[in-house]
């Protein structure tokens, strides 16, 4: 059995606002393996985003642990996040947005390595000719691609995506879903396999993308179901088996 790139153990989180305690996560445990796409589903406000933010090191942990291959401990995991809205820096062009993480002290690489890596990523996401463009000059899909490239630039073991395609039109969304699979395959081929954790509201998107689907219960969230999606790729959304799994997932996500 492969070693997991991410192990989440009995994770708990309670927010305190105005002396009111709000329990968000209650004992979440799961593992993610290199090169796998793991979709996380659940009703709105059940704590999916909080879970991702904790893995990204943006939220503190009340109890339990998050450990990654690179950092065996409870510290911030070597995980890079792609936000719901691209969150690109509008004052940097596409090239400088992608290389942003590589210019900070923690992930610093030599200039020529950074240049090469950004060039490869631009090629991977098909934005080479838009390298000097600023975010306001790009379409929503292009911006989200650049945000994915920015996360990939630091060679993370885990990519966290918080409803990355929810603001996009259906055609762009399908295009980017295929691109995620392609990027995952490319990263594995290059010897930097990434686990992709993707939060989505859309059962079809989950079944289309995922190797496994985690369904969270209502708040306080615990794991309600875990589904293995063993469908061959490329998947067809009209396929009989596809539809069956989609129904199963839809049934598990309580409204």
């Amino acid at each position: 059995m492969m070693e997991p790139v991410l192990s989440v153990r009995d994770l708990k989180k309670t927010f305190v606002a105005d002396e009111q305690e709000c329990r968000v996560l209650q004992g979440i445990s799961f593992e993610a393996f290199p090169g796998e796409i793991l979709c996380i589903m659940g009703t709105s406000g059940c704590g999916k985003s909080t879970l991702l933010r904790m893995i990204a090191g943006l939220e503190t942990i009340d109890s339990g642990s998050i450990s990654t291959l690179e950092s065996q401990g409870t510290g911030p995991a070597r995980a890079a996040m792609v936000f719901q809205d691209d969150a690109l820096f509008p004052w940097l062009n596409v090239h400088d947005n992608i290389s942003y993480g590589l210019r900070l002290g923690a992930e610093k690489v030599p200039e020529d390595v950074a240049t090469k890596r950004v060039a490869d990523l631009l090629d991977l996401i098909g934005l080479t000719s838009f390298s000097a463009y600023y975010p306001y000059q790009l379409s929503g899909g292009m911006k989200q691609r650049a945000a994915v490239a920015r996360a990939l630039a630091v060679h993370p073991g885990i990519i966290l995506m918080d409803e990355p395609f929810s603001a996009l039109d259906p055609f762009t969304r399908r295009e980017l879903q295929d691109e995620i699979i392609r990027i995952r395959d490319a990263a594995s081929a290059e010897g930097h396999p990434v686990a992709i954790l993707l939060v989505t509201h859309n059962p079809e998107e989950a079944v289309y993308l995922a190797d496994r689907i985690i369904v969270l219960s209502d708040r306080p969230a615990s794991i309600h179901g875990l589904i293995d999606v063993r469908l061959p790729r490329p998947r067809s959304i009209a396929d009989k088996d596809f539809l069956a799994i989609r129904e199963e997932v839809t049934g598990l996500v309580k409204r």
Partner: protein, 261 residues
């Protein structure tokens, strides 16, 4: 590009129409009143403006006085930038510092800069340093307030991105907070420069000064030379307009990434 250019040319024309109209009304009124001590003729004002390097009323030339004022404004303005921007970044990023300083700054802010003059003279004596202090007080708050607003306007997702890449807090300020807040800070600088320019003229009008456009205006007033006052006001207006245009040009050049026209 073409339609935009036409648009701006017609805008300049519209602006000129109002200026010309104002000048005509002024001149007609001056002819009717026919009293140089109430309303000088445009021709007399232009005569002063036409000789910017000639001695005015036996003193420094128009250009020399303008340079003195400009030097004072720049000194006071740059001092204000050097203090207000870092302080604004600190207040904007730290709720703790904000709660200590909020009421204090809100209380000093409404005091007109020129009201500090007696204290300024008591502390720094007559002349350059006191004027610099007045300008500093005038320019300080627009810069401070806009820097704080600018920092508050930085989207939390941008700082999240920086934190996710394990940035230090200094890196976050340098790579996210400052560039994100800069357009608003720039607006603060623009407003502050206009205030500073008003302050210098007012401060120079007070007793004990011996140079600058404000001094020249007061000196001409004492000698009843209203055409010199008019010329001084034109120069003040032109320099103010010029500075504002420079700031606007800087805005389009540096902050085009905001994606507005």
């Amino acid at each position: 590009m073409e339609p935009k250019k036409k648009h701006s040319i017609s805008n300049i024309a519209k602006g000129l129409v109002v200026i010309v109209l104002f000048l005509i009304i002024w001149e007609v009124a001056a002819i009717i009143i026919n009293n140089n001590y109430i309303l000088p003729r445009l021709g007399d004002i232009l005569l002063v403006l036409a000789h910017p390097f000639a001695s005015v009323l036996g003193g420094s030339s128009l250009a020399q006085n303008a340079l003195v004022s400009l030097r004072e404004v720049l000194t006071g303005f740059l001092c204000a930038v050097a203090v207000a921007v870092p302080l604004g970044l600190l207040i904007g990023t730290s709720k703790e510092v904000d709660s200590y300083l909020n009421y204090f700054t809100q209380m000093i802010r409404p005091v007109p800069p020129i009201a500090w003059m007696p204290f300024a003279i008591a502390w720094f004596g007559l002349g350059f340093t006191s004027i610099i202090f007045i300008i500093f007080m005038g320019a300080f708050f627009p810069i401070l307030i806009n820097t704080i607003d600018g920092v508050h306007g930085v989207r939390s997702q941008w700082t999240d991105v920086a934190r996710m890449f394990r940035s230090t807090s200094f890196e976050r300020v340098r790579t996210v907070i400052v560039p994100g807040a800069l357009p608003v800070i720039w607006t603060g600088l623009r407003v502050a420069f206009a205030v500073a320019w008003m302050c210098v003229v007012a401060a120079e009008m007070l007793p004990g000064t011996s140079a600058g456009l404000g001094f020249m205006i007061m000196y001409a007033y004492n000698l009843g030379q209203l055409q010199v006052i008019g010329a001084g006001m034109v120069i003040i207006g032109i320099i103010g307009l010029g500075a504002d245009m420079l700031f606007r040009a800087g805005q389009t050049k540096f902050f085009h990434w905001q994606g507005r026209g």
